[in-house]
């Protein structure tokens, strides 16, 4: 019998609330597929150790001392584009969350999420994008409207539009005659294209990837 070796998902925690950070560390530690390689109370030390930590997943708070979480996200994304970033924050300020998503986060959670919810969110995140609220969706729509060339496909645009108008994932799936998974895939793609929609990042990405 041939066994396939699947490496553990390397997780780094950046959270200034010690209790929450320790708690997340404990909770994630219970999951067989994840390992918390390091945890930091702020972005600065985390960034210094990024190359050695080599995280696959970063769970990051926004309101932190020394460096704001959004800035941290940008730098992490710049250093390690493939790292998946999940925002965990007390704030559900749509603007801040949107900025985090634009910066490179793939999803967000509130800090009151229970352990089970946290682990499920991690699984979902690694598979696809985290759920997008209608408020975020409307901000995403406006963001793409400002850009002359929208990178979204027709279907992605439809999904985004329905979401921004208040439809639920299930409703969207019913309206478009697609599955929930397909809706989530579209949302994930939208997130990714949202990252690139930031021109500066796009240039950096393009340069890095030798696309220019």
């Amino acid at each position: 019998m041939i066994q396939t070796y699947k490496p553990l998902t390397r997780v780094v925690l950046i959270e200034d609330n010690n209790d929450v950070r320790e708690g997340f560390k404990e909770i994630i530690g219970t999951h067989a597929e994840y390992v918390v390689v390091n945890d930091y109370p702020s972005c600065v030390p985390a960034l210094k150790k990024l190359s050695s930590d080599k995280p696959d997943l970063v769970i990051i708070d926004l309101e932190m001392p020394e460096m704001h979480g959004i800035e941290g996200i940008k730098r992490i994304k710049k250093a390690r584009p493939k790292t998946v970033i999940l925002v965990v924050s007390v704030h559900e300020d749509s603007k801040m969350v949107f900025d985090a998503l634009v910066a490179g986060a793939m999803g967000y959670l509130t800090k009151d999420t229970d352990p089970e919810g946290l682990l499920k969110a991690l699984d979902e995140l690694m598979k696809g994008g985290a759920p997008m609220s209608s408020k975020i969706a409307s901000l995403v729509v406006k963001s793409f409207q400002r850009s002359q060339d929208t990178p979204l496909s027709e279907r992605e645009t439809e999904v985004l539009a329905l979401l921004s108008k208040g439809k639920t994932y299930h409703s969207i799936a019913d309206d478009l005659f697609i599955s929930m998974e397909t809706v989530k895939t579209h949302i994930r793609n939208i997130y990714q294209k949202l990252h690139v929609n930031n021109k500066t990042d796009a240039l950096i990405v393009a340069e890095k990837d030798n696309l220019i």
């Binding site: 609330n17 404990e26 219970t30 007390v90 009151d112 229970d114 209608s134 439809k167």
Partner: protein
């Protein structure tokens, strides 16, 4: 008794004596253009137009001449005839026919004829006929300005054209034939038979007068000729003037009354060497006599009769008295006394060497009516029935040193003497003297035994022989009183003072009043004074006579002045020589003789001419005013607002009486007198339309006002349109400014409000956020730690796990509720679309890991973004739906949960329905499933909450409310 000198007296012999009427003579020396007058006509303004041979045309207003000659536009200075038709004066001259507009004085040459236009005439249809040369009679078309000769004119030299009282036109030839002119047809009517001087006056178609060789005939009917009494070779012409017929000789003028009897030989002596050319009677009944070489005479028929012919040298009358038999005794120093009755001289008492009238003082009449003559040196004489002056002895008790001044009789019939020592009364009982400090000049009896005695410097009152003081009456300064009179009816005393005017003392009110030139008297040098039958006062001064009417309250009601133009050429009157007779005619003695003013009380000038604007010019500019004239007046630019206007009001009968007054119509001013020369200087006339009104003071009902319009145009910046436009612009600017200011204020208020709200929201949010951060982090810590604890306590007892779970749940709930609360602080949370989306996201999150499909098929619309809920409502709605969703998640066993929202007809609706097990609503205990809370919350926000559920058919919760934007300003 002194031997009386024989006095020539023509008593009872009434001298046939002709009255001499008042007349005036005007010639070149008075301004007439030339002394040979060929024509005269009067226009509707009252001006007399006089045509001369060589002096052009003259306009006469009763006092002054204005001449028009070739340089004024006339075709010739030699004028043959004049006629007025409408507003035009047609002028016949050797060179043709011209006309002058009587309103504008513009001249126009109408027709240049080869022969002299000798005469003009109008028939009853106002057709104008010309006699050109001696043989041509033409009709002149005034419209087409064309003359057409009448072919049927007889081949006889034409002497004259005349019209009868019906306006029919007749032509007289030198062959003594009279033709009726009907349009363009001539028919012979009559032939004058006798050779010699001849003339005619047509009366009607059937009668006419003819003068034939000095005899006057009335031909009525035409075939029947009746001779009248006149038979004088001296008369060569016949003319009618007014209602009278005149026989005109070379230097003789005779007027015939309606019985054709000669009335008077009009002033032949004065008109000698004045060949009479024509006669005219004007509208005021003034007779005009035009002469060929001596100008013209004007006989105004004023009611003044002059008796100057009684004396060759002229009488200086200084006393007039009237006897009870109405015989006028008029005395002069040089001539003695003339006696006149019924305007006829009936006698004289001449001055002689023995009885020199130089010392004469006065004549009075005793109770028997006998005249007493009083002389200063000679004393008293009575005129007996033989016409002789008989000496009368002095009274027995005559004061020794007293010199007699004047003799009077009192009401008792006693003689009173004004003397140098006082008033001496020859009483029936006893003679007595009322002494004064100086000579008595005048005495007036106020009541029996009550006298006012005027000396040279004082006024005494004597009552029952004693001097008394009368309050206010006795002046303390010296005056020279010449005359006095007592008004019995009003109990007041008048006296005339030589220099200070007329005085009035009212015994009832003890009021002393003085009237002089400031009160309108023509002079305050008053020589004499009398009261007539109507209690009116007559005063004589150096300027003439004045009649004054006083009211009972001693105010002047009216004044009437008589001077030269009223025929009173005497002017300077003498004291003791003014008296009214029983017919109320006033006799006046002056340095120029004796005059009688008849019909003086009810005299009414029936003909009043309207004033005329004679000349006009700018006051300070030489520009032509004609450029600015309109039909009604003038329209002037504002810079040319000063004018000189000259007005005239004509009265040929009483030129001096036509005084002009002016005022601005409708401007609240009273009438002001126009200066004597008729010129008004109007300076700085205000901008606007004005009407200057001029009236003749004789025009009592103001029916003949002259109105002259003067319109001063404003500068453009004062025109109505400019000012209106300016006002509009200003109003617009004010409106715009106010609007801008209001908008700015509103905008500022809004901005401040927004800033305030923003600041408040920021603070609120920041506080909330800070609170949430702090609390959230704490709760997150609790939640996380209890979660970790739960994991570590896998093998713990159920009770401990339960408690731990509860702690975790509570922490998470508290965290969630705090988060919701913080969100509702956000101003966006009042927007319906935001609330709907929040609740939907809340549900999405709640049901994301459940088996139930959470659906929301409603879509946000732009209308939903404009619906604003009341502050605080969002929190209640979140709590309601959180409760409801939790119920569905936990209890409904539904597979599908749907949340929806809508706006319809002014109401918003939110609902949550599931397809779960449902329940019997009435069976639910109070408080279970949070239903009571939901109802309470919905009541708080005054929304309608409706729950429907039935077993096996799911549950629906619907909440609805009519919306109103609470945040509207």
């Amino acid at each position: 008794m002194r031997t009386l000198q024989f006095i020539l007296l023509l008593f009872f012999v009434e001298t046939a004596w002709s009255q001499r009427v008042y007349y005036e003579h005007y010639g070149v020396q008075d301004g007439l253009g030339q002394s040979q007058v060929s024509a005269m006509v009067q226009d509707h303004h009252g001006f007399m137009w006089v045509g001369t041979r060589g002096g052009g045309l003259c306009r006469f207003d009763g006092q002054h001449f204005r001449n028009f000659k070739k340089e004024n536009g006339l075709i010739s200075n030699e004028i043959n005839d004049l006629v007025i038709l409408g507003d035009n004066l047609y002028i016949a001259s050797p060179k043709g026919l011209s006309k002058l507009n009587l309103n504008t004085y513009q001249t126009e040459n109408l027709y240049s004829s080869k022969e002299s236009v000798m005469s003009l005439s109008l028939n009853k249809r106002n057709k104008l006929y010309l006699v050109e040369g001696y043989y041509t009679l033409s009709v002149f078309d005034t419209e087409k300005k064309v003359s057409k000769a009448i072919s049927s004119t007889p081949k006889e030299p034409i002497r004259s054209l005349k019209t009868d009282k019906n306006g029919e036109l007749y032509l007289l030839t030198f062959f003594q034939n009279i033709f009726l002119v009907s349009d363009t047809t001539l028919t012979k009517e009559h032939g004058i038979k006798e050779k010699g001087n001849f003339d005619f006056v047509p009366v009607t178609r059937d009668s006419l007068y003819t003068l034939e060789a000095g005899k006057l005939y009335l031909n009525h009917p035409l075939s029947k000729r009746k001779s009248v009494l006149i038979n004088s070779e001296e008369h060569g012409f016949l003319q009618s003037a007014g209602e009278e017929l005149y026989l005109i000789g070379h230097e003789k003028l005779t007027v015939l009354n309606d019985r054709l009897e000669p009335q008077k030989d009009l002033f032949t002596a004065d008109i000698k060497q004045s060949p009479i050319r024509l006669l005219l009677k004007d509208k005021e009944n003034v007779l005009w006599i035009a002469t060929n070489g001596n100008g013209f005479f004007k006989v105004p028929s004023v009611p003044v009769i002059s008796f100057n012919n009684l004396s060759k040298g002229g009488m200086v009358i200084y006393n007039i008295a009237i006897s009870p038999e109405a015989i006028v005794y008029a005395t002069s120093y040089n001539e003695g006394t003339v006696l006149i009755k019924n305007n006829k001289l009936i006698g004289r008492v001449p001055s002689t060497k023995e009885l020199d009238f130089e010392y004469f003082r006065n004549v009075v009449f005793d109770p028997q009516g006998r005249p007493h003559f009083f002389f200063r040196r000679y004393g008293e004489f009575i005129l007996n029935q033989r016409g002789q002056l008989e000496k009368v002895a002095k009274p027995a008790k005559w004061p020794e040193k007293a010199a007699g001044v004047t003799l009077r009789y009192n009401s008792k019939g006693e003689k009173m003497y004004d003397t140098s020592e006082g008033l001496f009364i020859a009483s029936q009982d006893s003679d007595y003297l009322l002494p004064t400090a100086s000579m008595v000049n005048s005495t007036a009896e106020i009541a029996p035994d009550f006298y006012a005695v005027f000396t040279l410097d004082s006024l005494y009152f004597f009552k029952h022989g004693k001097a008394v003081l009368v309050p206010n009456a006795q002046m303390d300064k010296s005056h020279y009183i010449l005359q006095s009179a007592y008004d019995k009816k009003e109990n007041r005393l008048f006296w005339a003072e030589l220099e200070t005017g007329l005085y009035l003392y009212d015994f009832d009110t003890s009021e002393l009043l003085n009237f002089d030139t400031e009160d309108g008297l023509h002079s305050q040098l008053i020589y004499n004074l009398t009261i007539d039958q109507n209690n009116d006062i007559w005063i004589g001064s150096e300027k003439g006579i004045e009649k004054i009417q006083f009211s009972s309250a001693n105010k002047i009601l009216s004044k009437k002045y008589y001077g030269k133009h009223e025929g009173f050429t005497g002017l300077e009157t003498n004291s003791n020589s003014l008296i009214a007779d029983d017919k109320n005619n006033v006799w006046i003695g002056s340095i120029y003789g004796l005059f009688e003013l008849v019909d003086s009380l009810e005299e009414v000038n029936e003909v009043v001419y309207a004033p005329v604007l004679d000349q006009k010019s700018f006051l300070f500019d030489t520009l032509l005013l004609s450029d600015y004239e309109t039909e009604k007046g003038l329209v002037l630019p504002y810079k040319l607002n000063s004018l000189s206007l000259s007005f005239k009001a004509v009265s040929q009968k009483y030129p001096n009486r036509a005084i002009l007054y002016y005022r601005w119509k409708g401007e609240g001013h009273s009438w002001n007198e126009v200066p004597e020369n008729g010129s008004l200087f109007l300076t700085n006339i205000d901008i606007g339309e004005h009407v200057l009104q001029i009236k003749n003071v004789l025009d009592l009902d103001e029916s003949k006002l002259l109105e002259y319009s003067i319109h001063i145009k404003p500068p453009f910046y004062r025109t109505w349109w400019f000012m209106g436009l300016s006002v509009l612009i200003l109003a617009f600017l004010v409106y715009r400014y106010q609007r801008w200011s209001a908008e700015r204020k509103i905008s500022e208020a809004l901005r401040l409000r927004e800033l305030k709200e923003q600041a408040e929201n920021e603070i609120r949010q920041q506080l909330g956020q800070d609170f949430h951060d702090e609390v959230g982090n704490r709760l997150a810590s609790i939640s996380t730690q209890t979660g970790v604890l739960n994991l570590k306590m896998k093998n713990s007892g159920a009770e401990e796990k339960k408690i731990l779970n509860q702690i975790q749940l509570n922490a998470r709930k508290l965290y969630s509720d705090t988060k919701d609360f913080i969100w509702t602080i956000n101003p966006e949370s009042n927007i319906f679309s935001e609330i709907a989306m929040y609740i939907k996201d809340m549900g999405e999150k709640l049901f994301q890991y459940s088996e139930q499909d959470f659906l929301c098929n409603s879509e946000i619309t732009s209308e939903m973004q404009d619906v604003i809920l009341k502050s605080g409502d969002s929190m209640q709605l979140i709590m309601i739906f959180k409760e409801a969703m939790t119920n569905v998640l936990k209890h409904s066993k539904a597979s599908k949960v749907e949340f929806g929202f809508s706006i319809k007809k002014g109401s918003w609706t939110l609902f949550l329905r599931d397809n779960g097990v449902g329940y019997m609503i009435n069976s639910i205990e109070n408080g279970r499933y949070g239903l009571t809370n939901m109802e309470t919350r919905s009541e708080k926000i005054k929304a309608d909450l409706k729950m429907t559920s039935s077993v096996g058919e799911g549950t629906e919760i619907r909440i609805k409310k009519a919306y109103k934007n609470d945040t509207d300003i």
